[in-house]
């Protein structure tokens, strides 16, 4: 007997069904009366219409989930919900989970409060404060290939493209990627391949640090041993048979150790600029560590990264970064330059 590949279908909301039905019958009516349809199709060949639809969806999401900074947080059930933010952050109160969704972010939340919950970070950054949960009812945060398993802690997960970063403020989380699991404790950070931890140690580490043997890091991630502690010897866990439940709740409410003082974005940017010629790979790594932020150094780093890629002849990557820059900072200080470089690399 053949088994099918299991692809679960996400149901459409009644609102979407109503929109589809209205559009269909409006077109039938229009065709019957021999005039142009009054209700435009949701599909449009014009990007403007698509953007309008996306904006409408985002607005709907914000209307449903956004609260004003001074307002009371909304209580949500845990039916599947998609939350996307624009310029303003959003705060959600889920059963046992306080969730901050930073600007320009998109997440999907679902699961069952009493069993397990899943938060998928499609882009941007979230911060979670998770009340202690039963070990068999963990909260899972997925950001690309990176998965964070938690039973009670406070932490941040940020995602840009396929890379992700996890910063733990309190408690312990398990991070899985490429079938391997590591434990990240309070005051520690973890970054995936295309990221770099922004706290001090990696900057003071040798310029070409090798991947520490204990850290579960794919593709040459720059995270020093001191920064990510080894997971207790539970054995490697594959993604197909994900993290085995911990024998007891991993709620280490220990005091956060004194976190190493993070170098400022400006310091990192200047370090990157200095090594652009002598060590462009290192410069790119440093730029990447800055460009996910929202401050002016993030703008500078993103543009500098794009320019460097263009200089190195990586036109595709340069285009991607420049488009990202113009999308995130359309009025940024380097917006005109970005457009000019974009023209050159087309």
């Amino acid at each position: 007997m053949r088994r099918n590949l299991e692809v679960q279908v996400e149901p459409l909301t009644e609102q979407r069904w109503s929109r589809v039905e209205r559009a269909i019958f409006a077109r039938l009516d229009a065709e019957a009366s021999g005039r142009a349809p009054e209700t435009p199709r949701t599909r449009s060949h014009a990007p403007l219409a698509w953007m309008s639809a996306a904006a409408a969806f985002a607005a709907l999401a914000l209307v449903i989930f956004w609260r004003a900074p001074t307002g009371a947080p909304r209580e949500l059930g845990v039916s599947p919900s998609r939350i996307s933010t624009g310029k303003n952050p959003s705060h959600l109160e889920l059963p046992g989970v306080s969730l901050d969704v930073n600007p320009e972010s998109a997440v999907v939340v679902g699961g069952e409060a009493q069993r397990s919950m899943l938060i998928v970070v499609d882009r941007g950054e979230i911060a979670c404060d998770v009340a202690p949960r039963a070990a068999d009812a963990p909260l899972i945060v997925q950001a690309g290939e990176v998965r964070v398993r938690v039973v009670g802690t406070r932490f941040k997960v940020s995602r840009l493209g396929e890379s992700a970063r996890v910063e733990v403020q309190k408690g312990v989380v398990e991070v899985s990627v490429a079938g391997k699991t590591t434990t990240v404790g309070a005051g520690e950070s973890w970054a995936s391949a295309k990221e770099v931890v922004s706290s001090a140690p990696e900057v003071t580490a040798p310029r070409e640090p090798s991947v520490p043997s204990g850290a579960m890091l794919p593709d040459g991630v720059v995270v020093p041993e001191a920064h990510v502690r080894r997971a207790p010897p539970r054995g490697a866990v594959t993604q197909a048979h994900p993290v085995t439940p911990a024998p007891a709740p991993v709620v280490e409410e220990r005091e956060a150790p004194a976190a190493p003082r993070a170098r400022s974005s400006q310091d990192l940017f200047e370090s990157a600029a200095k090594v652009e010629v002598s060590d462009p790979g290192r410069a790119i790594t440093l730029y990447r560590s800055i460009e996910t932020g929202q401050d002016s150094w993030a703008q500078n780093a993103l543009f500098a990264h794009a320019r460097l890629e263009a200089t190195r002849g990586n036109k595709g990557e340069a285009r991607r970064l420049l488009l990202q820059y113009l999308s995130r900072f359309p009025r940024g200080a380097n917006a005109d330059d970005a457009r000019a470089v974009l023209e050159r690399v087309r």
Partner: protein
């Protein structure tokens, strides 16, 4: 002298007389019948289209395309197959046209919706990620191969049914499925999660593999 047939009109075998009767109401412009047909079939058509395209990103347009095609073409329905099968063919045509114009659509990052069934969030996360990777690979395939593969391996339709839906021969359909699987498995070789996900579909490979010689 050859015997003359009384009429040149081909005979149709009506296998679904009730469907034919219902369709005739729709063709006559019975708006209630049209709405009933939409309500009755919408979930099933949505599931079929979702499994073919892999997300709800453009699904509203696809559903519109499909049902408009259905409503406009119902007069050609002869009851030779069930109305469901006939509607599925319309859906596949709509999907085929969608892939043709997809390159012109604004490209958003494909976002597969999380899977909320089942007891385990980790399993759901794994399945979701595996499905995301699978659809990323499917995006690289030629459209007919992709359609044949998704209908066979994900939707679970038999090959002869797929052949009819795609108006192709059985052998051509088998070949498309086999080539699609070979291409995906080749690209997925270094991806343990995807390999394991695809392994769920090993049960009845023989049909498709038998086409390797073709």
């Amino acid at each position: 002298m050859p015997r003359e047939h009384p009429t040149a009109t081909p005979l149709h075998v009506v296998r679904a007389p009730e469907d034919l009767l219902f369709a005739s109401k729709c063709v006559a412009g019975d708006r209630a019948a049209l709405r009933e047909l939409f309500q009755r079939e919408r979930q099933r058509v949505h599931a079929l289209l979702y499994r073919v395209v892999g997300s709800n990103a453009h699904i509203e347009d696809l559903l519109q395309d499909t049902f408009l095609e259905v409503f406009r073409s119902l007069s050609s329905y002869r009851g030779e197959a069930s109305l469901r099968t006939w509607i599925d063919r319309c859906a596949i045509r709509a999907a085929y046209a969608y892939f043709g114009r997809k390159a012109r659509l604004p490209q958003l990052e494909p976002v597969l919706d999380p899977i909320f069934k089942g007891p385990n969030a980790e399993e759901r996360a794994s399945l979701r990620e595996a499905a995301r990777r699978l659809y990323a690979e499917l995006d690289k395939l030629e459209t007919k191969q992709r359609l044949a593969f998704t209908l066979f391996a994900i939707e679970g339709l038999p090959l002869n049914e797929i052949a009819k839906m795609m108006e192709a021969s059985l052998m051509t359909t088998k070949t498309r499925v086999w080539r699609a699987r070979r291409a995906i498995e080749k690209r997925a070789r270094k991806d343990a999660l995807l390999v394991e996900f695809l392994a769920d579909d090993k049960g009845d490979e023989k049909d498709a593999e038998s086409c390797e010689e073709t």
